[in-house]
Every structure is written in structure tokens, then in C-alpha cells.
């Protein structure tokens, strides 16, 4: 029987024939750069010296044809494949679990293929980021509708596929819904086109196509385990902001034109909840979110020292929300929305904090094209302790449950007492998130963060049933018969159909 080590030179040659010698590497130094991401699990594995996280090969295909050929070769030789796009991943999805995996880096698939101004869509390859797409669409009076509270250098397609958690979800819903259709290379090298793409000549404009919509299979939690999206069509919206404003004063970006931002403080979490409920149902605004005091401290301060100082001095109000209004049609629209907002805030006992407008002005940039928000990683790692989708009335229960965890596992530096809440779809539901900050180089802090996250997950989603936890791997090791009751079995069947040799991101979606 031939062992993998014996086959390695031959496999290298096969792959080099496909992508070209320049775009494949099996060198340890190059491979090392693909062996860790921002996830707790990958940091833990590094401390454990788990060598399987270092891939055997890294390849950079130029186009869909090369992606197909690489996957066919991997099927032939039984090579596990892990796809990485911009690689900003908090779930370990871009790090191999199995020894001698191949990492497929999509960096060269980085083109904006089309911006259709009339029909308000963009067709992009996967490596196009939020910021890069925005830089082109905003010139044309359009944008994709938001930015995640992650660096907006992340790939827009992969972020949207993974839910699309962003700050302007009040108006534009989940990012996932802006993904109209896609072209996917399946693990066996076949291509599936979803929505109207599936009808030759029909165009890229519509979600549905002939028969059932297959898009959902590749969205959200397929975890890169069922195929590779090589092209996607994205919905665009009117952009009221004109030319993106220059940051002429460091850390004091200007709000884009025709936008207004309001910071509103509530005396307690319950009244904040009430205010958010009313605002979200009033049909005004584009952004409605709580900003934890920790986030404000991080986002607006240039150093960790300043962050901790202003946090400890209580500079950042708790129960603070922010609202952005966009004058998409006219100034009169803005005036009307502001009038409604002021009325609701008055009736719900909120206080406008005009004094914070200048101090918190990093949100003028980060609410639309996130950049400095990444400062929340300054303490080291940043672990999502909980990220739940839930209905709006569960705020309070979640908050109480969250505080129980915070008390039990106090953070090392900053306690995040106000969870971050993004209100979606005019208040239809929310995504709320609580995080902790830990030093990735310190095994004790890593262990602590893992325990805290695990307990939060069990508490919020399995015991208290307060929402749906979206950051775990693999799904089926966590969700067994209690989900579905046979959901995990269907996942296995589906994986078998799409990926009979289990080469795509093995162990991430389902343990076969």
C-alpha cells in the first residue's frame, strides 16, 4: 500500500500542473501561515502542538476551472481540502483538522465582475471585501447595505454566507439575504449555479430559479464543507452618503453626507429594551444597536492603556444605544425620522447624549466601513462567548443569563456587562453577542476562555433555550438527537451526496 509520504512529490506535480509552480507551496514556512486563525480552538491546538493544523500544501487557484481541477485531484488522492478566503475566522473553519490537508487560498479570485447600477446588483468573486466593493459602489450612489463589526477587509461573500452580522441590519436585514445567487464548485468538481443563474440567459438577478432554491444549502452553517463559492451576486441599495469622507483628523472620521447619528442613554437595560422595541417598529433608521461600554472604550481609544483607563473611570455609559438615520430620499425624510425618534426616546425615558457625538466619532466610519473596531482584539484574542439569534422579547432573560456567566467567570481585564445587540429587520429578531478578551499566548487565559464559552453555550442554547448559538464546530457533535430529532442524520446524508469522499473541510460540519 502506498503511503501519503510516498505520493507527496507526485501530488505536488499534479497540483503544480493545474495552478502553476508559482502558486503552490509545500514549504513549512509558507504552510505555517495557514495553521492558526482567530478561533479559540486553533489557539488551543497550537498550545497542544497539534501538527495536523499545519496543511500539507497550499494552492492559489486563479479561477473556477482551476478550483474544479484541484478538487478533482484531491478526490482522486483522498486529500482533505480546507478553503480560506480572507481568513478572518473565529471558528477554526480555515484551519485543517486532518494531517496532510490542502489549503485552497482563494486570494486570486478577487475581481468585481460587474456592478449593475440600474438593477442594483454586483457580481463578485469571493475574495472581494466589503471595503473594496463599497469603494466602487459608493461612487455610483450604491452600497451593499452595511459592514460587519469585523474588519471590512473580510470577504463579503463568505461573511454573508456565514449569516452576515452587521450594524445596519435594522434596515437591510441579515447579510445573508443580500446574497442573491451563486456559482458553487462542488467537492467532486461539478458546478452548481443557484437562482436565476441556473437558467441559461436568464441573468443573475433573482434568488429563485428552476425547482427548489439550492442557495440555502451553501449558506450559513455549511462551514465550507459542501462546496466552494466562486462567484456570487449581491443585492445593492441606494447610498445616500455621497463620496466617502476623508479622515482628515486622525481617529475623528466624518459622518457620510445625509446621515445623522444619535447616542441615547437609558437608565436601565429594561427601558433600553423598550426604547429599541419602539424604534425598531417605527420604520425609521438604518442602524439600531446597543454598544457595550467595552466596545466604546476599545473603538475610540488608541491604546490598551487608554482603553482600560477610560473604562475604569466609567467614561462610557452602560445601556447606551445608537441609531443612524439615512436620508435616502430627501432631507425631509431625515427630519421626519428624527422627529419620530425624539418622540420615542422621550416616551421611553431615554436621554440623547449629544456630548458623546464627538468622542464616539470612530463610529462615523465603523458603522459603515468597519476599521478601528478591530481594536477590541488589542488585549490579545477575542472570543465570542455567546452569539445568539433570538426574538426581541428574550433580551432580558439573555441578559440575566449572561450576567450569571460573567459573575462566575470574570474577565481578566474588562467585564462586558452590556451585551451587544443588533436589531434585525425592523425588530423581527436580534443577534446578541457577548465576548471576552484573552491573551492567546497564555495557556491559562485560553483555558479560562474555553470554559466560559462552553458554559455560556450550554446555558443559553441547550438548557435555557434562549436562542440559537451560531459559532460551534462540528455541528453534529453538539447537536445530536435533541435537534430535529433527526437533523444530524440528514446532515450526514446530504454530506454524503455532495462529498462522498468527505474531502471538504472534514469534521467541521459533520463527523462522518
Amino acid at each position: 500500500m502506498t503511503k501519503m509520504n510516498d505520493k507527496r512529490p507526485m501530488i505536488y506535480d499534479v497540483l503544480a500542473d493545474i495552478v502553476g509552480e508559482k502558486f503552490i507551496s509545500d514549504d513549512p514556512a509558507v504552510r505555517q501561515a495557514y495553521s492558526k486563525d482567530a478561533s479559540l480552538s486553533s489557539v488551543w491546538r497550537k498550545h497542544e502542538k497539534d501538527a495536523s493544523s499545519v496543511p500539507g500544501w497550499v494552492v492559489l487557484p486563479a479561477d473556477a476551472d482551476q478550483v474544479q481541477d484541484v478538487l478533482r485531484a484531491c478526490n482522486r488522492y483522498g486529500i482533505p481540502v480546507v478553503t480560506i478566503n480572507t481568513g478572518v475566522n473565529m471558528c477554526g473553519l480555515c484551519v485543517p483538522m486532518v494531517k496532510d490537508s490542502l489549503v485552497l487560498d482563494l486570494k486570486r479570485l478577487d475581481k468585481i465582475i460587474q456592478i449593475d447600477e440600474k438593477n442594483m446588483t454586483a457580481v463578485v468573486q469571493p475574495h472581494v471585501s466589503f471595503a473594496r466593493l463599497q469603494s466602487e459602489t459608493m461612487k455610483r450612489g450604491l452600497w451593499n447595505g452595511g459592514t460587519p463589526l469585523a474588519p471590512s477587509n473580510v470577504g463579503i461573500v463568505s461573511n454573508m454566507m456565514f449569516n452576515g452580522i452587521w450594524q445596519s441590519a435594522l434596515a437591510y436585514g441579515q447579510g445573508m439575504r443580500s446574497l442573491i445567487n451563486m456559482k458553487v464548485v462542488l467537492p467532486n468538481g461539478d458546478i452548481i449555479q443557484t437562482g436565476s443563474r441556473a437558467m441559461p440567459g436568464a441573468g443573475n438577478f433573482w434568488w429563485s430559479g428552476p425547482g427548489p432554491c439550492l442557495k440555502g444549502i451553501f449558506e450559513f452553517t455549511h462551514y465550507g464543507a459542501l462546496g466552494i463559492v466562486v462567484e456570487a451576486t449581491i443585492k445593492l441599495h441606494r447610498w445616500a452618503g455621497g463620496e466617502w469622507p476623508e479622515e482628515t483628523v486622525y481617529d475623528r472620521p466624518r459622518l457620510p453626507e445625509n446621515h445623522r447619528i444619535f447616542y441615547i442613554e437609558y437608565p436601565d437595560f429594561k427601558s433600553a429594551e423598550s426604547g429599541m422595541y419602539r424604534i425598531s417598529h417605527a420604520g425609521i433608521g438604518t442602524h439600531l444597536n446597543t454598544i457595550p461600554d467595552v466596545f466604546n472604550a476599545y473603538d475610540t481609544q488608541s491604546t490598551q492603556e487608554q482603553t482600560e483607563k477610560t473604562y475604569r473611570e466609567g467614561m462610557w455609559p452602560k445601556n447606551l444605544i445608537y441609531v443612524v438615520l439615512a436620508g435616502i430620499s430627501s432631507q425631509r425624510q431625515l427630519d421626519y425620522e428624527e422627529k419620530v425618534l425624539r418622540l420615542i426616546v422621550e416616551e421611553t425615558n431615554g436621554t440623547f447624549r449629544e456630548d458623546l457625538r464627538e468622542i464616539l466619532s470612530t463610529w462615523h466610519g465603523d458603522a459603515f466601513r468597519s476599521g478601528d473596531s478591530v481594536r477590541m482584539t488589542r488585549h490579545g484574542g477575542y472570543a465570542i462567548q455567546r452569539m445568539c439569534t433570538s426574538q426581541i422579547e428574550t433580551y432580558e432573560k439573555l441578559h440575566d443569563a449572561h450576567m450569571e456567566i460573567v459573575k462566575k467567570y470574570p474577565h481578566y481585564i474588562l467585564d462586558e456587562e452590556t451585551p451587544e445587540i443588533y436589531v434585525y429587520d425592523r425588530g423581527y429578531f436580534t443577534i446578541n453577542e457577548a465576548d471576552n478578551y484573552y491573551d492567546q499566548s497564555d495557556i491559562d487565559e485560553v483555558t479560562h476562555a474555553r470554559l466560559q464559552s462552553k458554559e455560556a453555550f450550554i446555558s443559553h442554547t441547550r438548557e435555557d433555550k434562549l436562542g440559537w448559538y451560531i459559532h460551534m464546530e462540528p455541528l453534529t457533535t453538539i447537536f445530536g438527537p435533541e435537534v430535529g430529532p433527526n437533523f444530524h442524520l440528514w446532515l450526514k446524508r446530504m454530506k454524503n451526496i455532495f462529498d462522498p469522499n468527505d474531502i471538504m473541510n472534514p469534521d467541521k460540519l459533520v463527523r462522518m
Binding site: 509558507v30 466589503f130 473594496r132 486622525y250 488608541s302 491604546t303 476599521g371 490579545g380
Partner: protein, 420 residues
């Protein structure tokens, strides 16, 4: 100076947010010109950007990675242009350039580096105290030429510096080739025109140590730094005026790490000239109708000091050169998409031309393409290394873009183009 192991926290705590690969997100003006890391633009694997290099640093610190030729590529094929220092410094207080430099120092100390392509340059530093394999006595040549050929006989030349509190430090680039002598000559002519009294060290000048530091010979860099600091202190220098941005950045940003007391301030000649213009003591020699753009040399920009971490300010020398340029009547100035802190390196940083000329050239061509996209006819800059790299790339590319030294344009707007 910090050893690689001192950066363990940084190496582990890279968040892999890819910010180091691109222009800072708020500043991206176009999809085409969004990428900022020259090394990643050319070599594409993540190992060739700060994020991947920090992974490599972590693995080296933890003893998980063995030495290889490709490891040398990863560590050395980088201009240390500071693009990642700006973005990562801004969001995370990490300065990857320092860590890459520490990796080089570790490899040199262990006898595994530098790559052979750097050896002639390193030898030259040892033998001649400059990187151009030229005797130090030649440092006086451009001064003699200036005196004999270009200045009226009755004008006094600056002397050897002993009696001057302000010293003009011109760096090694005039030793490179005759065309590189123009830069210090123009600087002296302008200062004399404004009546500014400066001294010159001529053949007593020696390298600032930038090549040793960047290539990883920390010991030699410290020796250069100590000797220079002691000499400047002994001469009673109060103000060290630099022409070469490499030297300027090295004096400002790196010398303080050596631990010697510096009894002098370090300024760049553009700062001085900017002040003279403001005071009305200098004005452009004439006008020139020209569409131009300006290339920010990294060493005058984001790496002239220790990044933005904690400063709450942009740190580069950005407005001064633009003000000098736009003070010339007829100049129509347009910015490139990647500018100021988000500027793309010319490609020559960290002595890439000496070791990896193809890499230096491809980066220059990318920058020239960007300059051309603005509609500019000419690319103006103020750095002997940027100028040389752009000129060399243009010579072999057939591109009609012209490259001008900012002060040449200020002093003689038509310069060598008199006959056009």
C-alpha cells in the same frame, strides 16, 4: 534592542484580521488600488504579509519551524515599508516591521542569514562604511564639483561642520552614481539661497547603519549608531538636517533604541525648507505647467517615527512636501489613491534592489501604474532610493511617465527639460 523572543506576545496575538494586507479600510478609494503590502502583491501566499510572518515568528519562537531557504524568502522579501506597522499599530499596537527585523537579526546571529544576494552590500559596509563599494574619500567629490562647476566663485561653501551647530547629513547615496549627486547639490544650493548656514562632514561622514539594521546585522548597526552619535555630540551639533529619508528615519526612529544620549535634534531638509518658505525666505525659482502626483517615501511617512500607536495622530511628513510642490506656479497636483499613511512603497525599501531587483522593479511598476491612473504626467518624490527605483523601472518599461525630485523642481522647474 529587542530580540525576537521579546515579541512572543505579539506573535501569538496576531488576530489574523487581514488589516495588514490592505489600505486602512476607511481610506480605500478604489478596488484596484486597495492592496498595500508589496510583498503580498507579488508573492501572494499569506506567509508574505505581516499576518503570516507573525505566524512564522511564533513558530520560530516556539521552536516549531526549522531553517530553510524558503524561510529566508519569507523573512527577507519584504521592504519593511511600514504599511502593516501603520494599520496594525493603529488597531492593535503591534508593529510587525520590528518583528520581521528581529527575525532577520536572529537568523544573522545564528549564521543562517543574510541571503547571499545581500553579501556584497554587507561586505561593502564593513570595508568602506557605505553600501556602494566606494572609498569614503569620494564623499567629497560632489562638494568639489559643486564648488568648481556650479556655484559662483564668491559664494562660501559650507565647511567641515566643526563650527556649525546645524549639520547637513547627506548619506551614502551620492556615492552610488553621478546622478545621485544632484540631490545633495540641490539641497546645498537651496539652503545657501536662503542664507542658511550649515556644515558638511564630507569624507568624515559614514553610513547611518540603516542597511545593517534592515538586513539583520544588529551588532554592526549599534556600532554605526554609537560612532555617529558620539561624533555628532563631540562636534556640538544641535540640529542634524538629513536629505536621505532612510537616514532620517534611522536617526529618528532607530537610534534612540541604542541607548546613547543624543544631544541633537533630527530634522529633514523638507521640514527646514517648508519653514523657510513660510517665513518668506524662499520661493520657487519659476513656474512650470505640469500635471503631477506625489509619492510619499515610506521613511518620510509612516516610518519616520514609531508608528501611530497611542499618538492619536498621523505621523508622517505629508503636508510639507505637498505645500512645497503646490507652491510652484503652474503645478496641477493630484493625489494617488494610495497616499500618506496608506501609500504603496516604491519597492526599494530595505535594500531590495540590491538583493531582489525584480521584486523592487515590479513594485515600482505597480506604483507608476497608479500614478499614471491619476492623469499625471510626472511623479514627484524626495528620496534617492525611490527616484532610482522608479527611474530604473521606467527605463525598462517604455512608460513615458517622468520622475522628478521635489527640490530640483522647486529650484529649477525646467531643469534638464529646458529644451522641451
Amino acid at each position: 534592542m529587542k530580540q525576537l523572543e521579546a515579541y512572543r506576545w505579539d506573535a501569538w496575538n496576531c488576530y489574523r484580521d487581514s488589516m495588514c494586507k490592505y489600505v486602512f479600510t476607511w481610506h480605500i478609494k478604489s478596488e484596484r488600488f486597495a492592496r498595500m503590502c508589496p510583498s503580498l502583491i507579488r508573492y501572494q501566499f499569506d506567509a508574505f504579509c505581516a499576518q503570516g510572518r507573525l505566524d512564522v515568528a511564533r513558530a520560530l519562537i516556539e521552536g516549531e519551524l526549522e531553517w530553510s531557504d524558503r524561510l529566508l524568502d519569507v523573512v527577507y522579501k519584504c521592504q519593511l515599508c511600514g504599511g502593516c506597522d501603520y494599520v496594525c499599530g493603529r488597531v492593535k499596537e503591534i508593529q510587525p516591521g520590528r518583528i520581521i527585523q528581529a527575525m532577520r537579526a536572529k537568523l544573522v546571529a545564528e549564521g543562517k542569514a543574510p541571503p547571499p544576494e545581500f553579501l556584497p552590500l554587507m561586505e561593502s559596509l564593513k570595508q568602506y562604511q557605505n553600501p556602494y563599494e566606494t572609498p569614503n574619500a569620494n564623499r567629497s567629490k560632489w562638494v568639489r564639483d559643486l564648488y568648481h562647476d556650479e556655484l559662483p566663485g564668491d559664494e562660501a561653501l559650507p565647511d567641515g561642520g566643526d563650527s556649525r551647530e546645524t549639520l547637513l547629513y547627506v548619506g551614502c547615496s551620492p556615492l552610488r552614481d553621478p546622478s545621485a549627486e544632484a540631490m545633495p547639490k540641490t539641497a546645498v544650493k537651496i539652503l545657501m539661497k536662503a542664507g542658511v548656514d550649515v556644515g558638511l562632514l564630507e569624507d568624515r561622514e559614514k553610513c547611518c547603519g540603516n542597511p545593517s539594521l534592515r538586513i539583520g546585522d544588529q551588532e554592526e548597526f549599534v556600532a554605526f549608531a554609537r560612532e555617529n552619535i558620539q561624533m555628532f555630540n563631540k562636534l556640538g551639533v544641535k540640529k542634524l538636517v538629513c536629505t536621505c529619508p532612510f537616514c532620517y528615519s534611522t536617526f529618528r526612529r532607530d537610534y534612540p533604541l541604542v541607548g546613547e544620549t543624543m544631544n541633537f535634534e533630527v530634522v529633514h531638509i523638507l521640514e527646514l525648507i517648508g519653514e523657510l518658505i513660510e517665513q518668506g525666505r524662499l520661493k520657487p525659482a519659476g513656474s512650470r505647467e505640469l500635471n503631477v502626483t506625489y509619492h510619499d517615501p515610506c521613511h518620510l511617512g509612516r516610518i519616520r517615527s514609531d508608528g501611530v500607536s497611542g499618538t492619536g495622530a498621523f505621523t508622517g511628513l505629508y503636508d510639507v512636501p505637498r505645500n512645497i510642490l503646490t507652491s510652484i506656479p503652474g503645478i496641477r497636483f493630484v493625489e494617488m489613491p494610495r497616499t500618506r499613511d496608506d501609500s504603496l512603497c516604491c519597492g526599494a525599501g530595505s535594500w531590495m534592489k540590491a538583493a531582489y531587483p525584480d521584486f523592487a522593479r515590479s513594485t515600482a511598476l505597480e506604483r507608476i501604474y497608479e500614478a499614471r491612473s491619476t492623469g499625471a504626467e510626472a511623479l514627484v518624490t524626495y528620496c534617492p532610493h525611490c527616484e532610482e527605483n522608479f527611474e530604473d523601472a521606467l527605463r525598462t518599461s517604455g512608460n513615458s511617465m517622468k520622475v522628478y525630485n521635489l527640490l530640483d523642481l522647486f529650484l529649477e522647474p525646467f531643469g534638464d527639460d529646458q529644451n522641451e
